[in-house]
Symmetry: D2
Subunit: 279 residues, 4 copies
């Protein structure tokens, strides 16, 4: 497993005896420690009500961090592209109200300063994993970075991207496995759970799973979250929407609040079974 | 999740309200019940000593069923093709000594009668998933069939193959996810854990995972077994070898006996965390 | 390109200086020579009229060999499985009438003797590429074998299967690239044209392409046939049906007779442009 | 082939009866017309001598456009990242000397103005296919855009990216198929030749192939270029290096000048065989 092909030339993202595993601090939370960190919320920030209701629900259910998109990468230019700064302000209000730190995506180097002013974690999406100018820019930011795996990236390429961020001086990178492209035609992507133990064995960085994009199907989110945690993931990124049937984006893979509560209940004993805890 | 594309035309392998989930009986064991069933043993039956020692070890560690190949599908005709009937006899002796039922592969319709005489479960390998004459033949056998997923088979194609067996009269089919082909270059295959909850949601049949072929890397076997069980798998098929460094086949993915014991110890609380048990 | 990984352990299927490239004789035809050989006909033999009409059409258009399935591997057991021996008899009649040699699939070792009695080329389908007992059996047959690539087979695995046939004594193997599984969702498979020059560079065996299964879409068959020939293929296997809208199988990818004639007309100058000829 | 899934919501990149196919003018050249346009040159601009020598060679061999990278997306931050503006100046000098227009990559919105000042065609690389801020920016540029397909992009996603550029007002988009990720382990990527006729059938935009990145292997470049042209491609992007053994990047897939001349000689009759010409 310490195959050279995986880490050749990688200096900062690799596991080594001299330096401890990276523990990313987000407020009072630690990603990469004994607690399984759950980031939950809507795919997209749509309205004040939608966000606040969903934020309260996930907070109550035990989520640690609130997710929500203000800048949205969409396949077509004609689709809703997110609320932009208005969305960031709503996220900020939701944090004030619930106390949950925020994670949201940034898509362009020139937006980093703006997004950084509002968010607690900067998310790099799967389409931008190898957007090197963007990686370098968030490498100079003062907030942790959640780096999603490219949809057909090898482990080596992914670690190379983490290296771009780390080598610019930002030590706080959280990796996120979000599903890869395969021939499978039932799921939207194939969540590559094996990436979790591989990263744990070769890298210092924490890793979480995104079972929502990883499957695209609501009924698979809970079992795949559990699979990720059992395999050693430090957390999960889960889409929850107060009214998924009317979501502007990704409704089919968003959990309803009661489904998310049920999942949190099931995660608790599972986390303990692998020597961790949920809260 | 009850997408028509997955089960269109599938009559017997589908889940429905009229009929209970299939519970496959193997001696006193039930695959598809509350117990997580672990099948363990060497990739290939090599010698009497190798098999007996490995069999005793896995029995002691808590395995429920002994696996071992007598007829081996190999990429080249010049590679060791297995001991054939001699291997079956050794497996039979190992069962007598340990009390563990046996699962072993059959590759040809004309060998079914022979293999059936020795084994408790007939295994159809990934390369033969769509060998329809073979499927029809084991569909007329009196032993349960372990049907591995083809290495690039869709869920629909896989269920179609189960249907070939069921429609010939054999109701006892156990599905086994063993990894799919993807662009990933670290692992031998990509173990598609999402197949577990998909099958659980659309099919009556039990499903287990094969983390050994699914990863090809020893250090990934334990975490991926746990991922499979957390996702709802009814068991696992794990390669264990008393001396993997000298194995004739698949040594790099075989657990050493002490590693297998450690895995069994870790599986116990995990099984309980998902409402099952290991023994 | 003489990468060891591709041919390691392959003895008979490799290109070497001591032995000339394999030229497979089928009656007066040579596959692997200066003529681009076109095998055309329906996916499945359905009726006497359907086969005879299609056979006459493809003969007139310049096809060299008639294809047609009598034993059909189908995803579900409830689908039409082919006419069996009756289909073989019809193929034989079509040969008598048109003078075209026949290629048809055999799915089971026990059927080889029967199919061999009727056909000129034994086809091994993609699902059976690694059905090793079947490969060994056709390796002892007296007719050439058309070996389709498995739908997720590496070049190495494919050559390994050719080796199974060659090592049993049958020197006449024709490889057929028929499309691989990928994430592409427009085409049925992804026709891997690069397999053609790879095989030409590492192997002695002739190779043809199957643009019909390789794309699954009628309008792509002609351009992909031309791509294959331009890349160096020794021929093509093309589905043609006299009435594709009412075909029992694969109608959407079958050319109508006039489309096939047009393709043959376009192939002629293309074959000459790469130093070959069509007739 | 006019499957809704491929073009749903695509307005400007689709083929329709009202508007002719897009012909992109680059100086006196037309991409998308009767001439097969060959863009050739080194992966990376390294030195004045390397570029000038290679430029003269490809010009003499009949290439139409000079390619060369000044800004290089590299897997690791420690690899040579290109000469930047210095590289653009060298490219400009090579154009002055040979008369060949230039195509070079731009990786960041903020670099577009700079690169545009030097180049004739702006290249968007595979890693940036869905870098939407970059796409929008080049959509406001005054030079044509060469849009490479993402390494695991569907046809629909690719057309969606073209749409981002077109909808900002730039009508001149050239698509470039450069190979997709698959399980294949011989080639660097799998050049999806079927993308060529699909694009021709559903889109107005011209399409070329990149057999160098598409295979990663020098000996496959010529046959795959020919395959692309036979399938209907409007041109090819070919890596040529005056001394590939000492190239800083991609030497193994770069043609030597004499190999490129041979390829141009073989392309000539092939282009004519499909109703086009090379010069």
């Amino acid at each position: 497993m310490t195959s050279l092909a995986v880490t050749q030339g990688i200096k900062l993202a690799v596991k080594n005896d001299d330096q401890p595993a990276t523990r990313v601090k987000v407020g009072d939370l630690v990603v990469g420690g004994e607690t399984v960190i759950v980031m939950a919320g809507p795919c997209t920030v749509e309205t004040d009500e939608q966000l606040m209701e969903t934020a309260r629900e996930v907070k109550e259910a035990g989520a640690h961090i609130l997710r929500g998109g203000a800048f949205k990468p969409r396949t077509l230019p004609y689709s809703f592209q997110g609320l932009g700064e208005e969305g960031l302000k709503l996220l900020s209000r939701a944090r004030d109200e619930t106390g949950l730190p925020i994670v949201t995506e940034v898509m362009s180097p020139e937006d980093v300063e703006l997004v950084e002013a509002y968010t607690d974690i900067l998310q790099i999406g799967t389409r931008n994993m190898q957007n090197f100018p963007l990686l370098k820019r968030v490498g100079r930011a003062s907030k942790p970075v959640l780096l999603k795996r490219g949809m057909s990236a090898t482990i080596y390429e992914w670690l190379g991207c983490a290296e771009y961020i780390l080598s610019e001086g930002n030590p706080d990178v959280i990796l996120c496995e979000r599903g890869i492209r395969s021939f499978n035609d039932v799921t939207r992507n194939t969540l590559d759970i094996s990436a979790v133990p591989i990263i744990k064995q070769v890298s210092r960085l924490p890793i979480i799973v995104d079972p929502s994009h990883g499957t695209g199907i609501r009924s698979l989110v809970a079992p795949m979250t559990k699979a990720g945690v059992a395999a050693g993931a430090d957390g999960a990124l889960v889409e929850v929407h107060c009214d998924p049937d009317h979501a502007l984006c990704d409704g089919a893979q968003s959990l309803r609040p009661w489904e998310f509560r049920a999942l949190m209940g099931e995660l608790e004993p599972l986390a303990r079974a692998v020597g961790k805890r949920l809260s």
